[in-house]
Subunit: 311 residues, 2 copies
């Protein structure tokens, strides 16, 4: 499995959720600024679809679609120090700022280009907001121990080879009594009508490709033990399901078609190259997925949101 | 596939949810009373595990475990005429009464024995409540058109060969402007950690056996088109996920072990007889399911709750 596959999957995942994943790691975290040139090719990893204005708009639209679901209940007190680890193009950042206008937010990402887009997005959507931007690897954050009151990590762990190590590194910078919030998807939660074995197979290919690339597209279901094993206490996980049917035309278009089906279609070449399927079988699966977005179809996907406390 | 398989599945489903399914139909609805002798063998269909005091207690316990999840938001105004179609042993009935103490509730079931247990349960748990009990087939209700303001149908459609016909029959007795609430599971929503192909296969066997018996263990996902096609309007479906991990020991025991694993174990003989699996493979799957209830494991299952309006 090539690195490109990871990035293709990661791009599709970002499309699903509106953020840039942190799937590769820079060996030397730097302060942001020097590389934050919006529109330039990424400096440290290739983000295949993520740097066009249209794509950035799409990421933002999709994050907005899911924001109510994912951000409900997440509000940090004024003056609290919050780190968003893996902020990507800032699609979740603007929602964090909207929910916690008085918090002192630091947003970190491996990609300086993504950070540039995040700055632009925040400037446009939350002009008065103060954000400290950090370009670097979440495994090697330069912050002192106990630097933050709260951590927010959204759609990042599922792309990492060792999510436990990442969580341990993040816990170091969280003060005792501080909280961590983690949001991840789980492709195994995908349900649709009409059901179709061919369509389910395409989802299985996604899971397989992400596993081969060192990630875990089924991570959502194991957030509780992941956080507990790293030492967080009072871990509570809530499932958040996007449920799409004829009564929700915006989600039919924005989630089923433009997010999920697009994500599946983006791995066609990789699935064929890996010998997981034939072109005909894959295309039949995609056609069956598209059928779930037609009249009378339904589509369901569950995200998991975990909150834990640093003892 | 024998009728027994249906009933075994139905029993397990009842164990999962605390109600008696209506999986076979009496040709002639009667008024309740004559046959409502708790503890006697069922008069019109065999409910394999459902008539012992221990089993009745278990059904009640499990319904109580899920009540907050399933009944939230369901409250009918005082004086409104409500029909619970397929009330079984009354495990949901007591929660309906608690949420809507002033409603005029009619509870119907195909099994007179179950109705007798339901009466006893209501007498014990809601002694002042008035309930009209009806013994009969929901496809052939003797009520006049427009007799009810609200319908409540929980874990019934998934056992029926033609859920659309049942919904149409129910809609007849609902007044224009009245509402229907339907709650169903979907075995395809089952997610657990550690993941296991052998365990997933046992769930697939459940789905297959229920399909062979004329039911649909994947019905939850298609509630929206089902209700819309029958003519209900403003149909809105919400997913309700039971999410089990170490932080919820009552659910580990009450849902994962005593409900879901027990349901899977109850079809062992049928799965083997149908040639779906081997004893070794089935037992490995069950062992892997049990592992999800140990420390560090997680288990997730989604119910779907639909509400629609009769135009």
């Amino acid at each position: 499995m090539t690195t490109k596959t990871t990035e293709t999957l990661a791009t599709a995942e970002a499309a699903a959720t509106g953020i840039t994943p942190t799937s590769t790691r820079s060996p030397h975290p730097t302060t942001e600024g020097a590389h934050a040139t919006t529109g330039n090719p990424p400096d440290d990893h290739a983000y295949v679809h993520g740097y066009s204005p249209a794509e950035a708009r799409r990421l933002g639209d999709q994050a907005d679609t899911l924001a109510e679901l994912l951000h409900a209940g997440t509000a940090y007190p004024p003056g609290s120090r919050v780190l968003e680890a893996g902020c990507g193009v800032g699609a979740q950042t603007v929602h964090l700022l909207a929910s916690s206008p008085g918090a002192e937010l630091t947003a970190a990402d491996l990609s300086a280009d993504s950070l540039g887009q995040a700055r632009a997005r925040v400037a446009a959507q939350a002009p008065g907001a103060r954000v400290t931007w950090h370009h670097g690897d979440l495994h090697e954050l330069p912050f002192a121990d106990d630097s933050f009151d709260h951590l927010f990590v959204c759609f990042v762990l599922e792309h990492l080879a060792d999510p436990s190590a990442a969580l341990a590194a993040l816990r170091r910078v969280l003060r005792p009594g501080g909280t961590i919030t983690v949001i991840e998807g789980d492709h195994g939660s995908t349900l649709f009508h009409p059901d179709s074995a061919a369509a389910r197979a395409t989802v299985d290919h996604l899971v397989r490709l992400q596993a081969d690339a060192g990630g875990d597209a089924l991570l959502g279901r194991r957030l509780h033990p992941l956080l507990a094993d790293v030492g967080f206490r009072d871990v509570a996980v809530r499932p958040l399901t996007v449920s799409v049917d004829d009564s929700r035309p915006a989600l039919v278009e924005g989630f089923t078609r433009r997010t999920f089906v697009a994500m599946v279609e983006s791995v066609r070449a990789d699935a064929l190259a890996a010998g997981l399927t034939t072109a005909a079988a894959f295309d039949r699966g995609v056609a069956d997925l598209r059928r779930t977005a037609e009249e009378g179809g339904t589509f369901h996907y569950t995200f998991f949101k975990a909150v834990g406390v640093n003892p």
